[in-house]
Amino acid sequence: MNHVYVFGSLVRGDYDNYSDIDLLALVSSYNEKYDINKFSIYSYERIKELWNQGNPFAWHLSIESKLVYSSDGKDFIAELGTPSDYKNAVHDCNKFLTLYLDSKRSLLNNTNSVVFEISNIFLAIRNFSTCFALSKGENIFSRDSSKLLGKNSLNISESTYDILVRARILSTRGTGEILSGTEIQKVKTSLPHIDSWFNSLNMEIDNGRI
């Protein structure tokens, strides 16, 4: 049995030059026709688990996926219904804050893997934002989730934000121009600002508002 879904920006309607075509394959056993470089591949067991945990990826799929192939004529995801309530926000936010702090430390210690660490910083910001929003009942799965949090949005310059996005694309897709020394310095300069943003959202978590 297998099912294929398209999800993300293409379904949401904000597909752009930076976007990937996100494809999900659900399989009952190893299936060589699904290339791990083109598909997110999950077993049915794992997807059910994510649904039961109320995992953000389950919420993402439940809201922003579209069936494109089904070997049994059924829509597996639609039949799973609504995922469980999202309860792991504190744990998940902490996980992405740790990612940010580890990468920041490495970057400031003059790592030899600069693009990787800046890419991680972008991932941490994006995923932290998505988890934070979901815990408040808001479904924001866009790549730019950190800009869509209203008064809690990350406020850094567009040019710095673009450098973070470029690093992410370099590391995941292997395309784009390598970051210059000036651009790397620009990211380093913005770190205190990003620290403040994480601290402010963390305070909301600590205050039990999420």
Partner: protein, 100 residues
């Protein structure tokens, strides 16, 4: 440490080992297949070289760990984590001996 952060840490170790060599003109930026392809091409590394094979092996193992289900987690996860650590040790030797 959370498993997610541990996997990122393993990736960081791999990249630091590779990028510590001055033989490469462009840094390795991730263990995604496309990123390894770019690194291999821009540094004129043979497709079937030991270092490329080892990097792809580690990348596949980390991918496996990220998709493992809770029921499988205890035994398989520990076993695979040990394998990854062994591969990282071998990668270090390859980089030291061939690209040191």
């Amino acid at each position: 440490m959370d498993e997610f952060n541990s996997r990122i840490d393993a990736k960081r170790k791999v990249l630091q080992i590779v990028n510590s060599s001055e033989s490469f003109t462009e840094e390795l930026m991730d263990l995604s297949s496309k990123s390894i392809n770019r690194w291999q091409l821009n540094n004129e590394i043979e497709k079937d070289s030991l270092i490329t094979k080892k990097l792809r092996l580690i990348a596949n193992d980390l991918f496996f760990l990220s998709n493992i289900s809770q029921q499988q987690i205890s035994d398989n996860y520990i076993l695979k984590s040990k394998e990854i650590n062994e591969h990282i040790r071998e990668l270090y030797q390859i980089v030291s001996q061939e690209f040191g």
